[in-house]
Each structure stands twice: as structure tokens, then as C-alpha cells.
């Protein structure tokens, strides 16, 4: 008996290498290769299957305002709520804007947008959408004073100017206006029912979108079924079974064993781990999101309160090496305008990139900083931030700066850096969503409006002015110049240092689904083109 047990235990220990050997990685296609310009994958329209798609996501929506999209903060909320709510416009593969609930729009002057609405959009309760719903939805968003209300910009008025026409007037030009309208928080809501009190937005989703949520168990699952009133082509995916699976490893296992058709991954190495699976195709999607390094300028006791030291530390960080070591070379060095968006600034030309090691040493010596220990805090719910922290640590060690790293859970990380009182940690690593226009994320560098940064950022009026300018200048060469100045100014201040973009990994089973995926995503919405997905069989 004992012998048998011993054999069993040995077998288990041996399973690890054996199983790995069994999966011999064949020649794999480049996971970042595009099937069509702007698209990592384009659904095969010859497939005629209909039915259920099983999706595994990493976390569930959990917002203070429940299911009301206007204050939704995180990408999963945008994806999930976006299944039920449509927006006026949509973002295309090159970050151009495409019609959605707005059939067309014109801008007679830079502060006026006239939207012509579809006349066939119907809410999932059967009531046709009206111009009033659109006006009230935008007002509802603006009233919330949420993050997204701020992104929507300086809206002066929203008026119903026709049966199917709504006109928005801005106080001043706001380049990111359409970019903000294109995200789920600006979704069009059944405001007649909401105002009448028969629909509680925090508890239910009644939208014009392709799907209706039929079941939700917090942190476990969602079931969406097709909205019979949907105005577009009936989607091939008639039912979405979404599982919330926190562990990356389990999502990979589910994709391998076929219990998931489509899954999202954070860890860039999942790519390599799944390549060996013949039925799974793994693609690597670029995002406009990017990692940043906080160099705390708000704590007077820190060596980083000295502008020169921060700039030297920034210069000591090698973004290319960072991408290679921490993100398998899949991330792009970036300035404050995401490298993956139009009008971005070349990271290689930033002032800090032009400094050599001797110059860095000189600055540190001049500032009297030779042997200091800096604390760095980051979070452990994703792999990359900890990896980035360790590479930064090694890079700074090369300049005589030692770094003490704490990798804590999300709540502790929030308490360390965003508590509302001056942060005591010298550095922090996290990421910002990059959104759909180069000027949007730069708002977080304007200390006049981004109050939450006060814990670790003193700010600079010149930077604030440039942020405002970048927000008002229309896309094109003129704004490119403003953004280049902004990138340089942010880089020189080195308070919150943009590092590299944040890629993600999407895996799907080719024997189940043929999806349409953008090469670059601005809102982390991996289900963006769900209505175009094709299923292999029913």
C-alpha cells in the first residue's frame, strides 16, 4: 500500500515536466501580426454558426453607482455595460470616429456638434429612442461630476434641435469630445423611464445595445442574451456566458480544456504558454494604456522633492530595456501622449532620453544625492507592475540609488498613494487608461483639475497650460507640436513619468469562434466588435 502511494506521489511530481514536454511548441504565427490593417483578427463571414460564446474575464464590474454607466471607472465595466448600451459614436481601428446611434454629425464651428440620430434605435423594453433620451443622457452624465463628465469637456448646452437631432455646444473647442462620447459612460440611457422612476439605472440595464443581461452573480458570472429590439444586424453570438475568473492560470486552463471560447489575459507570458495549444489562437493587443512611475514631489522630506533628482532618476530609467525585461519586448516606450495613438510624441526624443550616464551622475552629485534609499510601492493583482519595479530598481542601482520595493494588494496600494493625504512612499508604479485621443490622459498631469494627484504631485503651471492647449487644439500638425512640448515639459518635471504602453493578451479557440479585434484598443473593450464575431457551429 505504502509503495503504491509512493508511486502515486512520484508520478505527481513527474507530471510537471512530462506535461510540459508533451506540449511541443510548433512554429507559431506572430501573435502581434495583423490580419488586416488595424485588425489583429477579422471575423470569417463564411461561418454561419449561431449560439453561445463563453468568455472568461479577469474581474467583474464593481462600481459605487452599480450599473449606472456614467460613473463607471474601469475597463471591464465599460465592456460589460457596453453590451447593453450604445454610444452616439464609435472608435474605429485607427481611432477615427464611426457612426453608431448618431447616423452622422457635423461641426459647423469648433464648438458646435450637430448629431443626426438613427430613427430605428429601440430600447430593450421596446420603446424607440428619442432625441430627448439623448439630451437627458448627456445631461445625466454631466450632472454626475464623474471622471467621465470631466472628459466630456466644457459642455455649455445640449438641445433637441429636431425629432432626430441633438445639438451640443461647447464653451471652447475640446478635441477629445468625440473620443469621450465614444466610451460606455456616455452611453444612451432610457431617460424617459429613468426620469419617470420606472427604471433604476443602478440595478438594471435597459439600452439600445445588442444584448440584455439576464443574470448576474457578482464576481462569478454574467449571462447576456440578444436584445430582440436591436437595431443592427442580428449577431451570430446569441448568448454570452461570461465567467469572472480571477486567476490568470485558470483562464489559461479553461482555454486549453475548451471550457472557455474567448479569454482575456494580463500577463504577457501567457502568450508563450498558450502558443503550444493547437486549438487556441493567442493574439497580443496593444493598448493606449501605459505604465507610469510616480516620483513623489509632494513629500518635502524625500530626496525626490528636488526637481534635479527626479529628472536624473527619470533619465536613469531605460524604457527600451524595461519593455524587453518586464514585458517581453511587447510594450512601447511612451511619453505622456500614448505612443499607440495619433499625434503621439517620440519617446526617444524626450529630454531625459538624451542624457548619458555621466550627465546623470553629475546632476545627482550636484544635488548632493549620492547614497540614498528610496521606497517604491506597487500592486500585486497583475504581474507586470512588480516586474517593472524590479527592473527600475536594477537600473537605478547602476546609478548608486537603492530602491526598497513593496508589492501590496490593491487596497493597500490605494491607501499608500491615493488616500487624500501626502504620500510617504518615494515612488510608485501603476498604469493609466490611455483612452481614444492623445490629449485625454494628459489631463491627469494638470494639477488644477486632477485633484487626486495632489498626494504625490506638486505640479507646474506651464505643464497645466500645455495640457489645456493640447485639449483645445484640433488633431493635426499644430497639435502634434503642442503635444511634443507637453511631453517634454512633463518629462522635465518628472513627477509622474510615463514609461511604456500596457499590452494585453487575448486568447480564443479557433474551433469555436472567429472574432474581430482591433490592433490597438483605447478603452480596454475587448468585446467591442462582439456583433461582428462569427461562431464556428451552433
Amino acid at each position: 500500500m505504502t509503495k503504491r502511494l509512493a508511486v502515486a506521489s512520484t508520478a505527481l511530481v513527474l507530471l510537471v515536466p512530462l506535461a510540459a514536454c508533451g506540449a511541443d511548441p510548433g512554429p507559431a504565427a506572430d501573435p502581434a501580426a495583423e490580419e488586416e490593417p488595424g485588425y489583429l483578427a477579422v471575423a470569417d463571414t463564411s461561418l454561419e454558426g449561431t449560439g453561445t460564446l463563453r468568455v472568461h474575464l479577469d474581474y467583474d464590474t464593481a462600481e459605487a453607482a452599480g450599473l449606472d454607466p456614467r460613473s463607471a471607472d474601469v475597463a471591464r465595466s465599460w465592456s460589460l455595460m457596453g453590451l447593453s448600451y450604445d454610444t452616439l459614436v464609435e472608435v474605429g481601428p485607427d481611432f477615427e470616429f464611426l457612426p453608431s446611434l448618431a447616423e452622422s454629425w457635423r461641426t459647423p464651428d469648433p464648438t458646435t456638434y450637430v448629431f443626426t440620430l438613427r430613427d430605428d434605435a429601440v430600447f430593450s423594453n421596446g420603446r424607440p429612442m428619442t432625441a430627448r433620451d439623448v439630451r437627458r443622457s448627456l445631461e445625466h452624465l454631466l450632472e454626475s461630476e464623474s471622471t467621465w463628465a470631466a472628459q466630456l469637456g466644457p459642455v455649455e448646452s445640449v438641445e433637441e434641435t429636431g425629432e432626430h437631432e441633438v445639438t451640443v455646444r461647447l464653451e471652447h473647442p475640446h478635441t477629445a469630445f468625440l473620443g469621450a462620447l465614444a466610451n460606455t459612460p456616455a452611453g444612451i440611457l432610457p431617460m424617459e423611464e429613468v426620469d419617470g422612476g420606472s427604471v433604476d439605472l443602478t440595478a438594471e440595464m435597459v439600452g439600445t445595445g445588442p444584448y440584455v443581461a439576464t443574470e448576474h452573480i457578482q464576481d462569478e458570472s454574467w449571462t447576456f442574451e440578444v436584445n430582440e429590439h436591436y437595431w443592427g444586424e442580428p449577431p451570430a453570438v446569441e448568448r454570452l456566458e461570461i465567467s469572472i475568473v480571477a486567476d490568470e492560470f485558470n483562464r489559461a486552463a479553461a482555454l486549453r480544456d475548451g471550457s472557455a471560447d474567448f479569454a482575456y489575459f494580463n500577463n504577457i507570458d501567457t502568450l508563450d504558454q498558450l502558443e503550444a495549444e493547437p486549438a487556441a489562437r493567442v493574439v497580443f493587443q496593444e493598448n493606449t494604456d501605459f505604465y507610469y512611475l510616480i516620483l513623489n514631489s509632494a513629500n518635502p522630506g524625500s530626496p525626490l522633492a528636488d526637481d534635479r533628482v527626479r529628472f536624473a532618476v527619470n533619465a536613469a530609467v531605460d524604457r527600451n530595456q524595461l519593455s524587453e525585461l518586464a514585458l517581453g519586448g511587447h510594450a512601447r516606450p511612451t511619453g505622456v501622449a500614448p505612443a499607440t495613438l495619433p499625434d503621439a510624441c517620440p519617446a526617444g526624443e524626450l529630454p531625459s532620453a538624451l542624457l548619458d550616464d555621466d550627465e546623470i551622475a553629475e546632476i545627482l552629485e550636484e544635488a548632493g544625492v549620492t547614497e540614498v534609499e528610496l521606497s517604491l510601492v506597487t500592486f500585486n493583482s497583475e504581474t507586470a507592475p512588480g516586474q517593472i519595479a524590479q527592473v527600475v530598481q536594477q537600473q537605478l542601482a547602476g546609478h548608486g540609488l537603492s530602491v526598497d520595493i513593496d508589492i501590496v494588494d490593491d487596497a493597500s496600494f490605494g491607501a499608500a498613494l491615493y488616500s487624500g493625504s501626502t504620500a510617504t512612499d518615494d515612488m510608485g508604479v501603476s498604469w493609466y487608461a490611455g483612452y481614444g485621443d492623445a490629449s485625454m490622459v494628459s489631463r491627469w498631469w494638470n494639477t488644477d483639475t486632477a485633484a487626486f494627484t495632489a498626494d504625490f504631485m506638486v505640479g507646474d503651471p506651464a505643464v497645466n497650460d500645455l495640457v489645456v492647449q493640447a485639449g483645445r487644439t484640433p488633431r493635426g500638425p499644430e497639435r502634434e507640436a503642442v503635444i511634443a512640448d507637453l511631453c517634454a515639459a512633463v518629462d522635465e518635471r518628472s513627477e509622474v513619468v510615463p514609461l511604456v504602453t500596457r499590452p494585453s493578451v487575448i486568447g480564443y479557440r479557433t474551433d469555436a469562434v472567429s472574432p474581430t479585434l482591433h490592433s490597438v484598443e483605447g478603452y480596454g473593450d475587448i468585446l467591442r466588435n462582439i456583433t461582428d464575431f462569427r461562431l464556428v457551429s451552433s
Binding site: M1, T2, K3, L5, A6, S9, L12, L15, V16, A19, G22, A23, A62, E63, A64, G66, D73, V74, T147, I217, Q218, D219, E220, S243, V245, A246, D247, F249, N250, A252, A253, A254, R256, D257, G258, S259, S381, V408, D409, D410, A411, S412, F413, G414, A415, A416, L417, Y418, S419, G420, S430, W444, A450, A451, F452
Partner: protein
Amino acid sequence: MRILTWLPGRLLGAAVVLVGASALIFAAVRFLPGDYAQIVLGPLASAQEREALRTEFGFDRTVGEQYLLWLGQAVTGNFGHSLASGQPVAGELAARLPVTALLTAMAVVWTVVIGVPLGILAGTRTGTTRSTAAGRLVSSLGVSVPDYVLAAVVVFALSSLPLGPSVGAVGAPAQDLGGTLLALLPPSLVLAVFTIAATARATRDAVLNVLVEPHVSAAVARGETRLFIITHHVLRNAAVPVLTLTGTITAMLLGGAVIVESVFDVSGLGSYLVQGLGRRDYPVIQTCVLLATTVFVLMSLIVDVVTGLLDPRVAVSGRSR
């Protein structure tokens, strides 16, 4: 009945332990850095928004006030609402408890069905030095392999074999009992590895203890068969220590379920607790831990009562435990 003399004191002790544990957990979660307002509002929110939400959750009251309020409700079965979902914790628990109960029950079955015979065998078999050494090694190995390693390896191995879903396939036991049992087979076995080995070791010791008793020697001298000695003398006398251990580890399995449920993506009590901890969902954490401690205390109590009935001599030490 002797039992009546110590049972009231034991019950009082159990109540004290429960109140102590609930106070400890209540204070501990509030010492954790960050809170749910921070988590749900994210970094971009203003300090005012966070304060407003904290007031809504009642975090502005003193901890003592919050505790008494919670305890008062908990006694009536109202454990508050989950901050994350807004649903009553009692309801969410009720949905998840059957899965964990089933998982634990299966692990207990493996433990008793495999661990006890293994221990008896190890205790009664006169083997060579080499086989004894192998037995000691294997039983040590069982209590040495960390469940998180074993679980991860099993998940990977299962997902690589054409056996169907390896993780997350656990549904509601009420709807599909057979399917749930099948899906819980691997995690329950992983969970049971430690307890099987621990039980086998304890059983072996208990058996060896009994074997040196005079009445067993007498039975051997009388020429009774080995099987008869084992079933009539050894088992009866070894039952008490084995029972004690089984009770204790059953309660401990709930703690083990935390890791195993996380790795196997089982929606039970353990994963609920881990999610609650990450979110700083105070009512969820408090209720889960209170439940786990209650089960533990109840199990110890039951074990003491049963041992007290089986063997009145133990009652005295039972009280001191």
C-alpha cells in the same frame, strides 16, 4: 452523566471564544490599509466622494459602535450587506456554502476512508525496517506537499488532458449533484492529501498505543487472530484519538479550502472570503471568518461530547482543552 458536569462550562467557553474571535476579526479588518470606498471609487475619485461613501457605509461611527451594531444583527441572522454587490451576505453565503460543505465533506470522506485504514495497516503490520522507513517517508510527504503546488499542478495536468473542464465547472449542487460531485473530485482529493496523511499518522500512533496495552498482549497470548484483535481491541480503543483528530481537521479544511478553491476556481466560501479580503468588504470577511470559527468551535464541542460519551476518563482533559 459525568458529561453534564462539564458541558455547561464548555459551552460558556465556546461562546467566549466566538465573541472573542468576532471582536478580533472586526478590529483586524479595520486595521487593514485601504477600504472599500478606496477600491470602488478608484484612484481618480476626490476625497469628498470617498468620505460620502464612507458615511453611507457607516464607517464614520466608532469601531465599538459598529461592532455592537453588527453583533446585534448577526445574532438574529442578519450579517449585513456586501459592500461590493449590495446583496445580503447571508444570501450570498447560502448560495456558496453548499459547494464548500460538499467539498469539505468529500475531503473528510477521503480522509476517513483512506487515512484510517492506512494508519491501521501501518500500525499493525510488522514490516521490514525498509518498508517502515518508506511508510514514514510517504506519510511525511503527504503532510509536506503544499496544497498550492499540488493544486496548480493538478489543474494544469487536467487541463492538458482531454477530460473536459478542469476548473470552474462547479455548479449549484441542488441543480446538478452528480456534475458537482464530479467537478469537486480533484479539488477534494488535493484538499484531502494533507488530512489523509495526518490521519494515517495519528491512527498509526493510536494503534501502536493500544498495542502495548496489557489486554492486547493478553489477547495475543490467548491466540486470537490478528483481524479479531484489530476489530475488537484496537479499533475500539483507538477510536477516541482518531475521532478527535478527524473533528479538528474537518474544521481546518475550511481554511484549506481558501487556497484550493482559489486555484480550482470553485465559487465557495473560501474564494468568497479571499475576494472579500481583497476588496475590504468588511461584512463579507467578518461573516466568513465568524462562520469558520463557529464550525471549528462546534466541531471541537461535538468531539468533546462524543469522546466524553465514549470514554468518560477523557472528559477531564476534554475540559482543559
